[in-house]
Every structure is written in C-alpha cells, then in structure tokens.
Amino acid sequence: MLLAGLAIGIGVPWTVWLDIQVRDEFEGRIWDVPSRVYARPLSLYSGKPVSKRSLLLELKASGYREVTNASVPGSYSVNGNQFDINRRAFIFEDGSKPATRFRLQLRSGAIGNLVGVSGSEDPGLVRLDPAEIASIYPLHDEDRTLVALKDVPELLITGLQAVEDRQFKHHHGVAFRSIARAFVANIKAGKAVQGGSTLTQQLVKNYFLNSERTFVRKANEAIMAVLLEWHYDKAQILEAYVNEVYLGQQGKHAIHGFGRASEFYFDRSLQNLEPQQIALLVGLVRGASLYNPRRNPQRALQRRDQVLEIFETTGLLTENEVKTAKSRPLGVTSQPRSGGSRYPAFVDLVRRQLKRDYQASDLSSEGLKIFTTLAPSEQEYAQQAVSKGLDDLKQRGLPADLQAAMVLADVASGEVRALVGDRVAGRNGFNRALDARRQIGSVIKPLVYLLALEHVDDYNLITRVNDEPVSLRQPDGKLWSPENYDHKSHGELPLMDALVHSYNQATVQVGLNVGVANLIRKIKQLGIVAEVPAVPSTLLGAVELTPVEVAQMFQSLAAGGYSVPLRSVTAVLTPQGDLLSRYPLRFMPLENREAIALLNFALTRVVEEGTAKTLHGLLGSNTVIAGKTGTTNEKRDSWFVGYTRDRVAVSWVGLDDNRPAGVTGSNAAMRVWAGLFRSLPIEGLDLRMPDGANFVWVDKQQQALTDPSCPGAEQIPFIEGSEPQRSTKCLQKQDRKNKESLWRKWFGRKD
C-alpha cells in the first residue's frame, strides 16, 4: 500500500513533469514547412547558345542523373554532343507542366536542334525544371535543410524502419519484444551489441542528447516515448525524427536530419539520392562517428552493404538492385558542403529582397515556392573566377588573404545571374557583394564624363580638357592636390582620352565644371540610396559603395539608359501553385540617352587602348566590351566594371581590414572579371546611336571634321549640333577634288 502510494505520489508528478518536458521539446522543434528557393529555369530551344560544360552543370544543379537510357524523369544520357533528357513534371511560375522527353544536339556552342522523343510533338521551347538552391524561412535567419515527410524518398522511410524499428507502425513508443531480443543478444555477446530502442525513443534521446546509459535515463526515455506517441501521430513523429536524428559532425556544428546530411555527404538534395546512398545514411543512424564515410570509408562501406542486405531481405530492393547498389562506390564528396544553400551570397540577396518587397504576412505562409534569377552554371563560373583568380593573384605576389566579390546581371532585365561574396565557395559569412562598402575610385569617372557630355554646348568627346596640377581646399580645411597614377600631368587632350587613360587631374577639372552636387544627383538617379559626401574628392571616387550598388549604377548605362532595379526574385507561389506575387519587368528610361551612348562608346575605348587594354588578351577575344578600372589610394581596392551587349558584371578585390593590398583595377579585379567572361557566351556591345546622335569622321587632335581617307581620321559619335564646325585641310582638299570630279562627270570632260 505504502509502495503503491509512493509510486503514485512520485510517479504521477514525475510523469507530468516528463510530459511537459518532452512536449515542449517536440512542439518547439516542429518547424513550419520551409519555403523552397529555385534558380531560374533554363530555357532550351534551337539556336540557344550553350556550351556542353554549361549544360552539364545546369543538369547537375537541377539534380539530373546521368544514365545510359533516360527512361525516367530526372535523368539524361549524353553521347558526344547529343543529349537525351527526360524532364520532370514541375509547377513553374506560370503553371504546371508534365514530364517530357526530348533530344538535343549541340553544334558550335549552341543547340542545333531540339526534337521530341517517342512520337511526342517537337517542342519549340522546353524549360528544365529549376535547381532547388535553398530551403529557407523567409522571416527567420535559420539555415536548416528540413524536409516534409511527403518529400522523403520511400526507400528511406521504409528502410529506416526495416533497419531500426520494424514494429514502428504498431508499438506505442516502446517495443518490449525488441528490448527482449536485444537483451538476449547482448547477454549472449557479453556486451551491448544491439539496441532495442524504437524510433520514438531514439528521437527522445536526440532531443536531450545524453548518451549516458543509466537505468533512470532509459526509463525516462521510455516514458517520454510513450507520452509522445500518446500526443502525436506516427507521421508527425517520423517527420520529426527524419529532421532531428544526428548524422555527423562538421567542426562545432552537428549535422542533424537526413536533408542536411544528404547535402553534407553527397552535395545533393535528399530527393535525388540513389539506393546505396540512402543505405549509407540509414547506416549512419547506428553511429555517425563510427561509420563516418570520410574518416572510416572501409567501415562505412561494410555498414552500407549490411544495410543494403537488410533492404533485400525485407523485400525493399530486389537481389539485382542490391547487387548494382553494392557495386557502386560510397560516392561521398571529398569536401563537405557547408550548411544552408550552396549559394549563400545569392540566397542572402533573395532574403533581403523578399523582406523589402513582400508583406510579412505573405511570407509567413508555409511552404512557398520562390522563383529566382540565379543561373547555376554562371554562378559556378563566377565563383571559380573568384576562387581561382585569387589563387592566381597569390602566385603573382599579391597577399594570400585577398578577398573578392562579384555581381553578374542581365543588362536588359536587371536579373542577377550570379553573386559571389567570398573567395571560398559556399562559405556563409560576410557577404562582400552586398555589404563590403568600399571606395570606388576611378569607377566613378564615367559619371563625371556623362555629366559633361550632357552639356552639349560645352562638351563633346573630343573637347580639349586640361590635365594639369590642381589644388583644392576640402571642407575640413586641408589642401587636396590629386596626382595622376603615373605622377605626371598630360596637358591639354581630348575629353575622351582623359577618360580612356583615367587621368585624375583632367577629371577633377571637368568635374568642377559640371559640379559635385550634380554628380551626387546623377548617382542617386542611377539608383543609389547610400549617402555620398559633397566634397571634391568624390569626383575621384572617394565614395564608399558596395559591389551590388556599383552594378546597379552601370546596369542603367549598359542598357543604354533604361534603368531597372537589380532583382533576384521573379515570383512567389503558394504551395497550391497560386501566384502570390510577381515582380514584373519595369524600365525607367533616363534622360539624355544620347550622352549615355557617347559614354558607352568611350568606355569601349578604355578596353581598346586605355587602362583595360590587356582585357582582350585575357579573354582571348576581340569582342566590343565597355569597361572601367578602379584603384583606390595606396592600392587598397581593385575594381572592374565591364559590360557586353547582354551582361554587366562588377568585380572587387581587396583586403577585409582595408590595408594596402598592392591591387590595381587591371592587375586584380579585371583578371577576375575576365576569368568569368571567358566561360560565358559574349555578344559585343551594340554601338548604334539613338536618334539625336551620329557617328562622324573627325580628326580628334585638330577637333575638326575630316574625310575617312585623311590621316588621323576616326569615327566618333556626336550629339546632333555638337559636331565640330571646322574642317581639316585634308577634308577641304578632298571636297574641292570631289567638286571638280562632279563637274567633269556632268559635263563629260575627260581628265
């Protein structure tokens, strides 16, 4: 009686206390279904420029498997330049599309033809289902790769139960039969060889992360497991387990859940795992450290094969399937992928733009599908350009701890295709592309010259300007006497040449004429909200901007004066596939587009003959590109901004602590930029002038109209009315000759 009373008196409150504990833990860890973030879907059509390497990268990013016969969706086969692709069914932002199989042939860097397979109609245009680049909670900064039960592969769910808890469906948290079996086995072996814990007990154990094997702890675990089963259904418990179980360690960070483990070991999403990979993960449940496939590959292989055998004996896989699976290597990547997205810098931009442009109430919905503008192959190239580029700069004697950032966007739409915020791929830390606020140096000069060219009465591209020593008093009373990079003054020269060679003194003279206040206004007009100091040194780029802000300014110029805000999100869909919101394409035409066209022409000369003249050599191509280098005081920052017809990119290189780094625009950032563009299809810039501006044959030095056949003749664009009024003597002579020959023609006189 006394014992019973004691049992009730202590046992009941104890159980209630355990109940509170375990429910708190469980409820606190039920996550909403995360939102999925997708890259842009790759459009395929005949004529599309794409290299084999890029297509393979895109297929890999979208989780396609290479096979010999692409009979199932999500697989492809490749034979030389011929691809056979079985596209998965997918809900795109404009509706759902069924699976479809097609073949394409690559010919000289483009898709030659695209045909449907097995009698289906030839598709004019097919979109590959986009790569899933992250799972996020738009309102929280939490990076876990959680999976909903319905997205977990069947083999993992059934296999897990086959290996760890065959009674899962039937028990109430504790399986006494299993405990008895384990007890007997352990007695026989003389040590603990088998565990009798159910999945529910294991879940509880994971919650309290205590491996101490005492009777009280075991008893508590068992009571809590029963309580969990009392409150929640099997599916909820299994889902929690799948996302909670401990499967490895990365430094200080524990790897929890199969979704994250799948990325950590295989660099793949859980849905794309092969049977032997699933078996490896299931095997890790028993001992993530013991069977660590990177540290103990042999032991891991044995454990994996043991699990595969269980899959076979329980009928989950056939004998043949197991044979094939066993013949495969472990398939673990050599470097573990760090947490969260493979593209943390880009996903960071997505988060910020979502918060800026969407209502918090919309973003709190569960399981949104977020469509973005990222091009996985271009992102890969950009990251490689940065990582390898900086390694290369180290070889050239520059500091080993240089950092870099890069932004690549589509000129016309402002869609961000790639964003790199760190030299190490996938490192989730300081995002330099968005947060490194650094002086931009000479990268500001094009804006000074743009302002000048807008003053049609005062300036054209060949107006003589003075590159002479200049001294100005700054607002703090100090005297400011900027020098040129080569410490020389170059005297009077055409405006265009001052920009092409990036002369500081000439730029200050021009800048003072057009006004610092106007320059600041121009910067704002080009989409920059950051504060810009109204001091003369701003004329030479003593302004701190981030790489993404610089990219924003130059997008407007690259697009010929049609400004669009840089964007990373195109649409957000509810889990039901309804459009929550779209970001439609919107242009903002700027005034004075003729002046922008003139400036773009001058910037192509920077690449032809100015500070960026080694670019063509680095690229191995002579395509027309506009560009501008930037270097700051004591070589702390290196910038390069460049654009082709369709792409605009900014690269920055420097040291995080702003020490002098020995970098200049052309020795560092331009090399990194070239590293990216070597891998992209490049279309030359279109230099056709808008209405109101025309190319004219002139002699730049004489500031006079001339004839194409005259020495020193160049075709340079002018805004109508700003052309030189004078003619060269050579042109006058030519004109006389022409008149005479016309006279002869009309009157039939022979020479």
Binding site: S43, Y45, V411
Partner: protein, 166 residues
C-alpha cells in the same frame, strides 16, 4: 548592284517578311487596336519589317496573343517577359509589351517599352509607327497633350524616313 535593283530587292524582302510575321491581334473596342495597330498597319500599306524570330520566341509570342485575346493581360505579359529573357532586344516583343501595358492602363511603362523598342528597332515602317502611336496614346493619358501630338506626327514620318546606314 544599281539603285533600282537594290530597291526592288529590299521591297521583295519586306514583302516576304510581311508573310512571316504574326497575325495582327484583334481586340474589339480597344484603344490599342483602333489607335495603334490599325493605323500603323494602314500607314505601312501591309508592309511590315519583322526580324526573324527564333522558334521559342515565336511560340511564346503566339501564347501571349492567345492570352491577350482572352483578356488575360497578366498572363500575356508573363509570356512576353519570358520571350524577352530569350531575346531581350527584340523590338517587336518590346512593342507588344508596350501595347499590353497600354491596355493595363500602365501608361508610364507603356511609354518606356515603346521608347526602348524604337531605340533598338528599325526606326522605320510599321513597328516605328506603332512605337510612336503608343507613345502618343500614353502621353495623352498622362496629360501631356503637346507631347502626344508630337508623337502622333512622328508616327506618320515612320513611312517616309529612310533608315540611316551605319
């Protein structure tokens, strides 16, 4: 090649191109139809300058036309946006988008798209006329009467301006 041969060649090319272009869209009681497309087509006497479109753009344009006819303007602009991702500098796509924006009463954007189409496009012929007529209608809605008149006058000059050679 003499001037006559060159002119004849050009005319034949224009006529052939006219056959290849998408059919004009018919939207009843629509400002776009009555004030932009119909007069532009009349001005050009059926001669249209169309660049060769790739099959993907063609398919998307056709889908945009179907959506537009059904009055689903958001859908239509979605298709055109996709097409613009493929050919961001196609003047017809930009002009088509301008006309959709006009129908959505988004006059500022109608102006922007039409202007860009003109800048990038042939600046002559039917598309030029549609560019300026769209600009005219949009300006009118934005209470810029004199600007609207200028644009209207500019549209009529699309047919007699010889394209510049570069």
């Amino acid at each position: 090649m003499d001037v006559k041969t060159r002119l004849l060649g050009g005319l034949i090319a224009l006529l052939l191109a006219a056959c290849a272009g998408p059919p004009p869209v018919k939207v009843d009681d629509d400002e776009v139809d009555s004030r932009v497309r119909a007069p532009a087509s009349e001005d050009s006497a059926g001669v249209q300058v169309y660049s060769l479109q790739n099959p993907a753009v063609k398919e998307l344009t056709a889908q945009a036309v179907v959506a537009e006819r059904a009055g689903e303007l958001d859908k239509a602009s979605g298709y055109l946006e996709r097409a613009l991702r493929i050919e961001p500098r196609d003047p017809q796509l930009l002009q088509h988008m301008a006309e959709i924006k006009l129908q959505k009463a988004d006059y500022q954007q109608a102006l922007s798209f039409a202007e860009r189409s003109y800048d990038i496009g042939p600046r002559v012929g039917e598309i030029c006329s549609r560019n300026w007529r769209t600009i005219s209608v949009a300006r009118e809605h934005l209470d810029d009467a004199s600007g609207a008149n200028d644009a209207e006058a500019r549209a009529t000059r699309c047919m007699n301006t010889r394209p510049k050679r570069y």
